[in-house]
């Protein structure tokens, strides 16, 4: 008696612990894979009505069906790619199976990260582009797809690279060109393209030089038009520091470029040494003797 009770308890617990114990696969026929948004059918056996569940984190579907024949799911029923549990449930039986829904074949949108939005000219591999390709249902398309990246500068030939996606992602590195200006960076997959702007700005000042002229009791200090090493004008507003050293004292002024030139007035001290700098770039020095 006790043995029978123990065996029955153990057996029921055992079957309860086993996964899928309530499901009886084999009499439910489900396609292995289906394209997102496509219609498909599920073959059922038996008779009477049942509830059909298609359940996954991406989507949930429930419908009352008649057993014993194909259950047609029209196009647009399951649109999110993912792995689904399919269950047909009656009051007396439960049948389960798995279904994989794949992304649609054609790209419909691109998430394109282009960095940076602003950078100095003439830098190697300084611009990066990374793209993720999605179908019309916002599913990531993971089969390999060619993606074309094109960086067009105001002058010069565009840079073009074509990369095949891996797991839905593709990336490139490009050089900034020697000319300042607004570049257009385009990622294209199939007939879909997305564009970004990359602003190329002048680099550090190059060959910074100034001149000094007396102006009453003061000295007028003025730089030549300030340009970078590629000849691009350094933007207005860039700070230039003028310094005058004399007899243990110092005078200085931080002056912004205006129309490419910086100008300042410092007290005139005979024997003073005048210097100019911008950021970490040093310019010429003038020994003022007058």
């Amino acid at each position: 008696m006790r043995l029978h009770l123990a065996l029955i308890t153990g057996a029921s617990l055992l079957f309860g612990a086993l996964p899928g114990a309530f499901a009886q696969s084999g009499s439910l026929s489900v396609p292995g894979t289906v394209e997102a948004g496509a219609g498909f059918s599920i073959q059922t056996t038996g008779s009477g009505s049942a509830a059909l569940y298609i359940v996954g984190p991406s989507q949930v579907f429930k419908q009352e069906v008649r057993l014993g024949g194909p259950v047609m799911l029209p196009a647009g029923s399951i649109t999110h790619a993912g792995h689904y549990l399919v269950a047909v449930v009656t009051p007396s039986s439960k049948q389960t199976a798995s279904l994989d829904v794949l992304p649609a074949a054609e790209p419909a949108s691109i998430s394109f990260l282009a960095e940076p939005s602003r950078l100095p000219v003439d830098l190697r591999d300084a611009i990066t582009g990374a793209a993720y390709i999605f179908d019309s249902y916002a599913n990531l398309i993971t089969r390999p797809l060619p993606v074309s990246f094109k960086l067009s500068a105001p002058s010069g030939a565009p840079q073009v690279q074509t990369v095949t996606t891996r797991n839905g992602a593709a990336w490139v590195r490009m050089n900034s060109t020697p000319q300042r200006g607004e570049d257009t960076f385009i990622a294209q997959a199939g007939s879909i393209s997305v564009s970004r702007s990359v602003h190329q700005v002048a680099g550090d000042p190059c060959q910074l030089t100034m001149s000094a002229h007396p102006s009453g009791p003061q000295l007028e200090l003025e730089t030549n038009p300030v340009r970078d090493c590629s000849g691009n004008p350094v933007p207005d507003g860039t700070i230039v520091t003028f310094t005058e050293s004399y007899d243990g004292g110092l005078s200085s002024a931080d002056v912004p470029l205006k129309r490419g030139i910086a100008k300042a007035y410092l007290p005139a001290h005979p024997g003073g040494v005048l210097s100019v700098a911008s950021g970490v770039v040093l310019g010429n020095q003038i020994h003022w003797e007058k």
């Binding site: 123990a6 569940y53 996954g56 269950a87 389960t96 992304p103 990374a130 599913n139 990531l140």
Partner: protein, 164 residues
């Protein structure tokens, strides 16, 4: 003999319930990505991804979309949110119990704004219709996951099962 049988049958369900936390394996190989990944970043993204699974489980079990916001963002948040609302409207709740994860980091985008990983996950899914269990099955899926950084953590932006 019968004592042995009794003990075995009693221990089996206990064993099934004993392991609450899933087993996690992270592929240690360094992926060929355009951006080098620091170990702290690697640890953080794995930790935050596993945390997002916990959030998903609770959200689907209780039909609470607000529980997703801390761990999901963008397309993944939208999709999961919509699914929970749909199942709630149907009177359905689902329970996802992850049993094991095999994770592989496959891509760190060059500007540092996304990390892609593949998760081969084993889990059980149970479906309840108006509180009545209607289906249960053990599943194995391969998830493509893209995580993006937010202010305090990595959040899941793409969460898509896709067989290889």
């Amino acid at each position: 003999m019968w004592k042995l049988a009794l003990i075995s049958t009693l221990l089996l369900p206990l064993a099934a319930y004993a392991a609450d936390a899933p087993s996690v394996y992270v592929d240690p190989s360094v992926p060929q990505t355009p951006r080098p990944m620091e170990s702290q970043t690697r640890t953080a993204v794995v930790r935050d991804y596993l945390q997002s699974w916990k959030a998903l489980q609770t959200a689907f079990e209780q039909n609470r979309t607000d529980l997703l916001n801390a761990d999901f963002v963008g397309g993944a948040l939208k999709t999961l949110d919509k699914t929970i609302r749909a199942q709630s409207a149907l009177g359905i709740t689902t329970r996802y119990d992850d049993l094991s994860h095999r994770l592989q980091i496959v891509y760190y985008s060059p500007e540092g704004l996304s990390i892609e990983l593949i998760d081969r996950v084993s889990y059980t899914v149970q479906v309840f219709d108006h509180g009545r269990p209607v289906a249960r099955r053990q599943e194995h899926a391969r998830y493509i996951v893209v995580m993006t950084p937010s202010q305090v953590r990595w959040r899941t932006r793409i969460f898509e099962a896709n067989p290889a």
